[in-house]
């Protein structure tokens, strides 16, 4: 009987924790309550039922921001930037996102909720544009301006997205290629006996931002290699092979670019992809195009141990940051990484949204990307964009 | 009896390591009821499975309607007019009676099932057979007996020329058996050949024309029923003579101590105000018709089902029994009527089943002492004369009688002094039956006390020292064996209040 009781109690405790958790913040993360209060005070002269679109130019507008979720700390940095800008401009923001980047339906629901609150403007980082089309049309009909951010809203109907605050991912990929080339890839390519292989690890072949980072890197590497009078070929994932500027497919080039994409996004499968590249003798560089892939590079290398910056090592290039990637940069496991500017992105999306709500003309903002290495990681202009 | 419709000659069938059928023959004529007898494991079911295409024969010849045939599947056999009414009911409990009868050959109206037509056809069928069942009733709501009737009706609705009945009366009440026999006679009059498999000697004498006996997979012989006595048939089956007279007087002294007393037991509709006493060394027979509430009473006493009210005393002490564990702790063991479902763990060995209720006595620290377990199991295999190649044998491979012995061993190892045998010989062949009887007599001699629930009148009269009779959840009679006759038991068993 006693044991039964213990079982029952433990179960109840678990359920209790869950319920408290739910009561705490209802499953989806988070909004900035302090700015909400300021806004309420500031907006008192406008009646509560006033259409927020017509809120006075002095501030108090409500901006809804629908992100891709909070799994990666990247989004926390975006949130931080958005909150800073909101405070500065005296508006309220409600920043939401689904539990994971595969929860497309949840995001559709959140976007719909955002519209139903008749905000002054909406910031949107779409997981799947197709699924959001109805909502976008409704927002347009109700005159709610939409500002894209992060990867924006690719292929949205013309005119529906007034502006984007995003990283130019293709340019960021090119940046990684250029910096890496000068810091050691060129030497390895030019001095090679026989062909060499450059690996690209991609989390998936569906996200526009990830694909562009990959393609920017691939195309730029190809340009640089060809400038040396050498040939390039590409192999691996079909989408990348088809969309890249590299004409020759297969293993025939002096430089072979191989792109691997796992069948599902799990730590294990991505790490196995990394090992597949590391196990090929001719691999000289591996580029992981987001935090997930960067971490998989560390995991995959743990048993094979070929990454490094020494003459015989395989060079690693990562994207974004996080504790693992930062450590790998400091330890010179990776030669370098590209970081976006999430704080700037958060600021920009709120600034653009407020400007659009107030009827000003807005245009795309490239929030930029930076190359960082063990030497530059602690520079303040870099470090503010890195997160754990 | 008409001309021969079916012959099976020289049938051989082997399974890996076992010769299941060895040169077996069977001949069925039109308009005859042909009994197929033999102990469990004699090869009756195998033979019928060979006939209906479930098994492929290794050698031999089947002639049906003067042509040599090989049925590729039960369906092919059915279509040719050979149908088997299985012992286990193959009913879909969520469908109606009519839907069950016409399953696989539904009457259609265009692309849709025509339920009305099926109900009508089923009603006509029942009327012809004199069965009172509503075709629109859900199968699961019927009693087992009625379900059996449906199964039979289904067989008949196939326009069969040969029907095999595999122990059809095992789950039927007396009156249902009478109805069944009427149907069988009716079928016989229509020149249908019937194979009748049963262990009940009385039925064989009553309904069949000829008897074919198998023993250990071999053909023993075929005789006309009229010319044979029960003893002849039994001797053919077991190869030895066994016969026990009914008990004439109780072996228990009137003042023997009471080991179990039940007072005013109530549990739902099936157990109403039941009181009785069980003396040390006594076999207390529980008689009654199907659904009289005997099993329910036993299950409540054993803690398997919930008690509404009432008191139970073991050796004069009041006890509270809320679960089988409580019952076992008080020395009560229960041998279920449905061994496969409730009695044994089929996928486990004889040894594991033997120690299941008393594993705590077989521990060496944290581990089970498998050596001791095997030793004790072997001891009981010997004591109870369980036929098994070894204690590591899976019980699923044993015959019903030997499975029953394993269950008995389980409770004896647990040192239970009060044993409830629920239909101890159901589905057990004649030879094993007498062994079980012998075992029960031995047990009471050793001072155990037994409650024996049985639907077989001869069994009750042969084994009991005293008899409690139930009807519709109430105790309607109690008598000493010296006063008991079939008539006064039946009288009490049908006494509705």
């Amino acid at each position: 009987m006693k044991k039964k009781l213990v079982v029952a109690l433990l179960s109840l405790t678990l359920v209790g924790t869950l319920l408290m958790g739910c009561g705490g913040n209802g499953g989806d993360t988070t909004t900035d309550d302090t700015t909400t209060e300021t806004a309420d005070n500031g907006g008192d002269d406008g009646a509560a039922d006033a259409d927020t679109n017509d809120a006075p130019a002095g501030g108090g507008e409500n901006i809804q921001i629908v992100s891709k979720g909070f799994q990666h700390q990247f989004w926390q940095a975006v949130l931080q930037g958005a909150e800073e800008a909101a405070e500065e401009l005296g508006v309220t923001i409600n920043f939401v996102g689904p539990n994971s980047e595969s929860d497309i339906a949840d995001q559709v629901q959140m976007f719909q909720n955002a519209i139903n609150q008749h905000p002054a403007a909406i910031g949107l980082a779409a997981l799947d544009t197709e699924a959001l089309l109805d909502g976008i049309a409704q927002a347009q009909a109700e005159g709610i301006p939409i500002i894209g951010f992060d990867s924006g809203v690719p292929d949205a109907p013309a005119g529906s997205i007034l502006a984007n605050a995003s990283t130019d991912n293709y340019a960021a990929g090119q940046l990684a290629a250029n910096e890496g080339w000068n810091a050691g890839i060129r030497d390895r390519v030019v001095n090679a006996n026989g062909s060499v292989r450059i690996g690209v690890l991609s989390q998936d072949a569906t996200s526009e931002s990830i694909i562009n980072r990959g393609l920017g890197f691939i195309d730029q590497i190809a340009t640089l290699v060809e400038a040396e009078g050498l040939t390039v070929s590409i192999t691996g994932n079909t989408r990348y092979v088809n969309d890249s500027a590299v004409e020759e497919t297969g293993e025939g080039g002096d430089v072979i670019i191989e792109v691997l994409v796992p069948s599902q996004v799990t730590n294990e499968l991505s790490a196995i992809d990394m090992q597949t590249l590391l196990n090929k003798e001719d691999t000289i560089v591996i580029y992981g195009s987001n935090q997930h892939s960067g971490e998989a590079m560390v995991t995959g290398n743990a048993t094979i141990q070929r990454l490094g910056v020494g003459a015989d090592d395989v060079l690693g290039i990562a994207f974004d940051s996080g504790a693992t990637i930062k450590q790998a940069i400091r330890d010179q496991l990776f030669m370098g990484a590209v970081t976006q500017a999430p704080v700037a992105m958060g600021q920009a999306v709120v600034q653009l949204a407020v400007a659009a709500a107030r009827g000003e003309t807005v245009s795309d903002v490239d929030t930029g990307a930076q190359w960082y290495t063990a030497d530059t990681i602690d520079n303040p202009e870099i470090y503010q964009n890195l997160y754990d | 009896m008409g001309e021969v419709i079916l012959t099976m000659e020289g049938i051989d069938k082997s399974f890996p390591g076992v010769r299941a059928l060895d040169q077996v023959s069977l001949e069925v004529r039109k308009g005859e009821v042909h009994a197929l007898m033999g102990e469990n494991g004699a090869g009756k079911s195998t033979l019928m499975k060979v006939l209906t295409g479930i098994y492929t024969k290794d050698a031999g010849k089947i002639t049906y309607e003067n042509k040599e045939v090989v049925f590729a599947s039960p369906k092919a056999a059915q279509e040719a007019g050979v149908m088997i009414v299985h012992q286990e009911l193959n009913m879909l409990n969520h469908l109606t009676v009519a839907q069950n009868i016409y399953i696989g050959r539904e009457k259609m109206s265009g692309k849709l099932i025509h339920d009305k037509a099926m109900n009508k056809a089923a009603a006509a069928l029942f009327q012809r057979l004199n069965i009172e069942i509503d075709p629109t009733e859900t199968m699961g709501n019927l009693t087992v007996g009625k379900q059996q009737m449906c199964e039979i009706a289904k067989a008949i609705s196939h326009d069969s020329k040969v029907i095999v009945f595999d122990e059809p009366t095992a789950a039927l009440t007396e009156s249902e058996i009478k109805e069944l026999f009427k149907i069988i006679r009716d079928l016989r009059a229509k020149d249908i050949g019937i194979v009748y498999i049963s262990h009940r000697m009385d039925e064989i004498k009553e309904i069949t024309d000829r008897v074919t006996v198998l023993r250990d997979g071999a053909y023993v012989g075929t005789i006309d029923t009229e010319e044979a006595t029960k003893e002849d048939i039994i001797q053919m089956m077991v190869g030895r003579v066994i016969y026990e007279e009914p008990k004439s007087k109780s072996n228990v002294a009137k003042d023997a101590p009471v080991v179990l007393e039940v007072k005013n037991l109530n549990a739902g509709r099936m157990v109403q105000n039941v009181s009785f006493r069980l003396h040390k060394g006594e076999i207390l027979g529980f008689s009654g018709l199907m659904g009289a509430g005997r099993t329910e009473t036993a299950r409540v006493i054993f803690g398997a089902d919930k008690m509404d009210s009432g008191e139970v005393f073991v050796n004069g002490q009041k006890v509270v029994i809320r679960s089988p564990q409580d019952a076992v702790r008080n020395g009560i063991g229960y041998l279920s009527e449905d061994r496969k479902r409730y009695g044994i763990v089929v996928a486990k060995t004889v040894a594991e089943n033997t120690t299941m209720a008393s594993l705590e006595n077989f521990m060496a620290g944290l581990f089970i002492n498998k050596k001791k377990e095997a030793q004790v199991a072997e001891e009981y295999v010997e004591k109870l004369k369980t036929k098994t190649p070894g204690v590591e044998q899976f019980v699923v491979n044993l015959s019903g009688g030997n499975q029953q012995k394993v269950v008995v061993a389980k409770w004896l190892v647990r040192n239970c002094d009060i044993l409830i045998f629920d239909e101890p010989t159901r589905g057990i062949d004649v030879g094993a039956k007498s062994e079980i009887y012998h075992l029960m007599n031995e047990l009471v001699k050793q001072g155990k006390s037994i409650i024996m629930i049985s639907s077989e009148m001869s069994e009750v009269l042969r084994m009991s020292d005293r008899i409690v009779i139930m009807c519709e959840g109430r105790k309607t009679g109690e008598m000493d064996i010296s006063e008991a006759t079939q008539e006064n038991i039946m009288h009490a068993a049908t006494r509705r209040e």
Partner: protein
């Protein structure tokens, strides 16, 4: 007929085959075949680092699989192990990062989290009598959401191997002067032995098998079936927590909302290892072998140039074959 005793053929009567079990022999054969095949096809496969990698990635699945063998033996299932493992890893890792909890304690918290989840399942299945599929499907969702909420939706990275708090990573892979020793494998082997003995030689183990084989018969033998039924799920939860430790030690970031689907890898391994989906039969050694087949395929196929989706297809085919063997075995009974 029932009285006949099956004798089997020469292969199944071989004493070694008899002790180890037919299906396990087949699975061992498959493992040897795959190892030889991959080595033959790809020189790169024949490296010590490949062996270490295969081991490395098998730990968390092995632990989940050992645990879920118990519910499967009772004839049930535990679907909450995948998301439960991730939730446990998230919750405990977050305590390290945010509350500076010592890693040793965090590992304990991780395991206890799994046990608590197991208790919830045990309560639903054994006490409320919910069907295990539904009960654990629910707790799978609960674990997924709870994991996210408890860490505020952010991914969690346990301390890196090089740091002071990162010692726990060498529980599974010890770096002895540059030589990697897969100590985790020894650990798993030890657990397999302990749990095998538990299953086959202890009362709780035998009662758990009885619940799966014939629950009613076990109950009528005076066995407290609810208790042992519950225990199977608590064991599963305990190993879910252990798997969380292995997962945190092997990988870098643990991402909220993930983990669904990993339970199926573990269950597939158990089934390939010969445990019956119908309950009543299963072996822990078989489970480990089954997981190994899966790990070998996952790691080996890329070496012969079969990427991503091919792994899924081939794993699916292997599963069909394994279940087919199970079905055939049951048909014989």
């Amino acid at each position: 007929m029932g009285a006949g005793v099956k004798k089997g053929n020469a292969f199944t009567n071989n004493p070694i085959v008899k002790t180890v079990g037919t299906q396990k022999i087949v699975v061992i054969g498959v493992i040897i075949f795959l190892a030889i095949f991959f080595s033959w096809m790809s020189p790169a496969f024949r490296q010590y680092s490949t062996v270490v990698s295969i081991f490395d990635f098998s730990y968390y699945v092995s632990l989940m699989a050992i645990g879920v063998t118990f519910p499967l033996i009772t004839g049930g299932v535990d679907l909450s192990i995948g998301t439960g493992m991730v939730a446990a890893g998230l919750f405990a890792g977050n305590l390290v990062n945010q509350q500076n909890l010592p890693v040793g304690l965090a590992l304990l918290v991780c395991i206890l989290f799994g046990v608590a989840l197991g208790c919830l399942n045990a309560f639903s299945v054994a006490k409320l009598n919910l069907p295990p599929f539904i009960a654990t499907l629910s707790s799978m969702m609960i674990a997924r959401g709870l994991g996210s909420i408890l860490v505020g939706g952010m991914s969690v990275t346990w301390p890196a191997g090089a740091t002071e708090q990162g010692w726990f990573r060498s529980i599974f892979r010890l770096d002895a002067n540059g030589t990697l020793i897969p100590v985790g494998f020894i650990l798993i082997l030890a657990l397999v032995i302990v749990m095998s003995v538990f299953l086959n030689h202890s009362r709780p183990g035998r009662y758990i098998i009885s619940v799966g084989s014939n629950k009613e018969a076990a109950r009528l033998s005076g066995i407290h079936v609810a208790k042992w039924h519950a225990l199977a799920y608590i064991i599963s939860g305990f190993f879910t927590g252990l798997a969380g430790v292995a997962y945190a030690a092997t990988f870098q970031g643990i991402v909220p909302g993930t983990g669904a689907g990993l339970e199926l890898d573990a269950i597939a391994g158990v089934i390939i290892g010969g445990t019956s989906m119908k309950g009543g039969y299963g072996t822990i050694g078989g489970t480990l072998l089954g997981v190994f087949v899966m790990s070998l395929l996952k790691t080996g196929l890329p070496f012969i140039g079969l990427q991503a989706n091919w792994q899924q297809i081939i794993t699916g085919i292997v599963l069909i074959i394994a279940v087919f063997i199970d079905v055939t075995r049951n048909a014989k009974k």
